[in-house]
């Protein structure tokens, strides 16, 4: 037996994305944001997208390109504080935004990746974030139902990969990437380095390759990946 090779040209992989798709995108700030896959999605032009991403990056960076190109109808997120463009789009009604508590967004995505219907949580009870949510009483205590999130496509940034799609992340570029890599029907990963099979130690794999559909190796990194000088 040998493990299949998942390497594919970036535009071929992105071509699977359709108008109206839900797309999860890794990253928390710059670290872990798949900048190159995002640009390919801008080039591809799919519209009416629902994005699921922790934050909206900063103006002129990351998913801001997709917001500015008008490809995004809806954003499920936790915090837009560093992107005034995103806030303006939201306030003008051009972008529907659903805010989640950060750890609950992480859990909902993880639940989608774990084949679970929902989690029962007490986060936000007594605040407007719980308004309108289904509640369940269990063992005398009230919980809100937080349904699992899945996507049609997930765009993932990894530090290293092997040709089967096993992924490893570095530092705080891990964040939402390993969760989203389990929770989409089609998982597309960009990796800074793609190593031969066996070069990524089995104990050090963060995302097993069985979750990954397409893999592309990045060439020289664009400036968007660099340290931000504010």
């Amino acid at each position: 037996m040998k493990l299949p090779d998942k390497r594919r040209a970036i535009h071929d992989a992105i071509a699977e994305i359709k108008d109206g798709d839900t797309v999860m995108i890794g990253g928390f700030g710059v670290p872990g944001t798949p900048m190159t896959l995002i640009h390919a999605l801008v080039d591809h032009g799919a519209r009416n997208l629902t994005l699921i991403k922790n934050d909206a990056n900063e103006p002129g960076m990351g998913i801001d390109h997709l917001l500015q190109s008008g490809q995004v109808a809806r954003l499920i997120t936790t915090h837009l504080g560093l992107n005034c463009n995103a806030i303006a789009l939201m306030n003008s009604g051009k972008l529907a935004v659903e805010f989640n508590a950060q750890g609950i967004l992480a859990e909902r995505i993880r639940a989608g990746g774990a084949g679970i219907g929902a989690i029962l949580s007490d986060i936000g009870i007594g605040t407007e974030l719980a308004d309108g949510k289904q509640v369940v009483e269990m063992q005398g205590k009230v919980y809100v139902v937080e349904p699992a999130l899945r996507a049609d496509v997930a765009l993932i940034h990894a530090d290293r990969a092997d040709s089967f799609g096993n992924l490893a992340y570095v530092a705080t570029a891990r964040n939402f990437n390993p969760l989203m890599a389990t929770a989409a029907d089609c998982v597309i990963a960009e990796a800074e380095r793609v190593l031969p099979l066996g070069q990524l130690r089995a104990d050090d794999v963060h995302t097993p390759g069985v979750f990954v559909d397409h893999l592309t190796e990045l060439g020289e990194l664009s400036k968007e990946y660099a340290v931000v000088r504010r």
Binding site: M1, K2, G115, I116, F164, A202, G209
Partner: protein, 217 residues
């Protein structure tokens, strides 16, 4: 293993398509791996936290920390990955397992599977069986056609506690390959030296026998 069982396992191995992620249950299904070509592109999964299972090892070559879910000492191949038990079943439940091959006590004409408990006799717990049966994209069964007492394992309804309902697509036995369809059991292949009438007689439910020559294995 008798010749016909060996042919049955070899036939089941052809069920695995290139690129699949596959979980092989304890017992007969485990032996399917011996019938895959050396460079066949497939990823084997085991519930205790490994994708990319390599050959089984004898005790003197075994790694004390590396077993499969059945307790056999296995090895890795280039590209193997280890993960925890939650991730292992996330793979199963979220649809990343293309195929599982399981053993059975009973299979019903509707594809219900009973393979974990015989009340009063055998109740060791379900392990990962329910999730494999309920969530793998395709579930096939490898089993002898009848039990040791000669009783049919393919029945109109299961009498034992179920593992999962309507989950089985195909059954490989030492007599035949049988599909579960909207009209129940359908004979699709037959073991050499066995007649369709033999299979019908050993099956405790209606069996559709197509009016055409059937492939043999």
């Amino acid at each position: 293993m008798s010749d016909v069982r060996d042919r049955m396992v070899a036939r089941a191995a052809r069920e695995i398509a290139p690129g699949m992620v596959v979980n092989l249950g304890i017992g007969l299904p485990t032996k399917v791996v011996n019938h895959l070509p050396a460079d066949f592109p497939v990823c084997l999964h085991t519930e205790n936290g490994l994708t990319g299972i390599g050959p089984t090892l004898p005790p003197e070559k075994a790694d004390r920390n590396l077993i499969d879910a059945g307790g056999a000492y296995v090895s890795t191949i280039p590209g193997s990955a280890f993960f925890d038990s939650a991730t292992s079943f996330a793979i199963v439940r979220s649809g990343r397992l293309d195929l599982t091959m399981l053993g059975a006590f009973e299979v019903s004409a509707a594809g219900d599977l009973a393979n974990w408990r015989i009340p009063g006799k055998f109740s060791p717990g379900v392990g990962g069986g329910i999730e494999l049966a309920q969530k793998a994209r395709r579930v096939v069964v490898l089993t002898t056609h009848t039990d040791r007492a000669g009783n049919a394992k393919l029945k109109q309804e299961c009498s034992l506690p179920l593992t999962a309902r309507a989950c089985v697509s195909r059954i490989f036995t030492d007599m035949a390959v049988i599909d579960i369809t909207a009209v129940g059991f359908v004979l699709v292949e037959i073991a050499e030296g066995v007649s369709a009438a033999d299979v019908v007689a050993a099956t405790d439910a209606p069996l559709v026998v197509p009016d055409m020559p059937l492939p043999t294995f």
